[in-house]
Amino acid sequence: MVQYARARLDASFAALSDATRRGVLEQLGRSDASITDLADKFHMTLTGMKKHVGVLEQAGLVTTEKVGRVRTCKLGPRRLLEETAWIESYRQRWAARFDELDDVVEELKRKEMVDGRKKRE
């Protein structure tokens, strides 16, 4: 479970780091589409689009279903999308705090160095 969750989150953020893939998600938010439709819309080869969709599918952001010769793509479960967004916003909140904490830590380090020098003198 732990490994699974970690792998999925890594996959989510990797999936979202690419502009085409974000575009694909936005497109699928409006309507389901086949890989051929998506390839046309984003001016890509079928193979290239298959790769992008594969990455999104791995991350759980998109699901696909093959009916006959057509593979249809749709957005993954809403809960998963929201959870990914929430965790990213939580991460950003702590990153902002820790960047401030860096300043406090640097100041304490400098102070310790000065105090240490005084003691030796």
């Binding site: 969750a5 989150l9 780091s17 999308l81 965790i87 939580y90 991460r91 904490l101 406090v104 380090k109």
Partner: protein
């Protein structure tokens, strides 16, 4: 995982990661370029803590910060936020205090669904790896925390990614 992303304007900063590592646990990690005793000090002295816990970008102002950092001691942080008529308080008790390597406290403002937070400070070659774990009492408690944060929130500005995903989420199947 590599949490340093293109959108972050300050590449010199160490990266922060956040993951849901199990049904009821969230884990945040960050490395600091200082010994553990210094990072620990900045977490446990109110006059230092209040300088970093609510960055200006949050739009919060800290009204008070009390920390009685010893086993069984309590803490209470009170904030004013323009979007909320009443001050907001975060409070709980310290369960474990082991300078400079470990702090554990409860989060009691949310009632029974509150997480227990464990922060460890692991020093190596003069740098400190900080690992913060929020362990919720149940999967439902963590799911609820995520769900309430996604919709109402504490008035914090949702970043672009979140807005984007929430827009997508609105049209995705539940």
């Amino acid at each position: 995982m590599d949490a340093r992303r293109e959108s972050e304007p300050t590449p010199m900063k160490n990266s922060t990661t956040a993951e849901r590592t199990s049904e009821r646990e969230l884990v945040v990690t960050r490395t600091f370029n200082a010994p553990a005793r210094i990072v620990f000090e900045a977490w446990t002295k109110p006059e230092l803590f209040k300088r970093w816990w609510a960055p200006k970008s949050f739009g919060l102002s800290m009204l008070s910060c009390e920390q009685d950092v010893r086993v069984g001691g309590s803490y209470r942080l009170v904030f004013a936020h323009p979007g909320s008529p009443e001050p907001m308080a975060f409070f709980g008790k310290y369960i474990e205090v082991t300078p400079p390597s470990r702090l554990v406290w409860t989060n009691d403002e949310g009632g029974e669904g509150g997480a227990v937070t464990t922060v460890t400070f692991e020093e190596k070659d003069g740098t400190t790896l900080l690992v913060m774990r929020d362990l919720y009492p149940s999967k439902e408690a963590l799911d609820d925390a995520i769900a309430s944060g996604s919709t109402s929130g504490t008035g914090e500005t949702f970043d672009q990614l979140e807005e984007f995903l929430v827009t997508l989420g609105a049209s995705a199947p539940s």
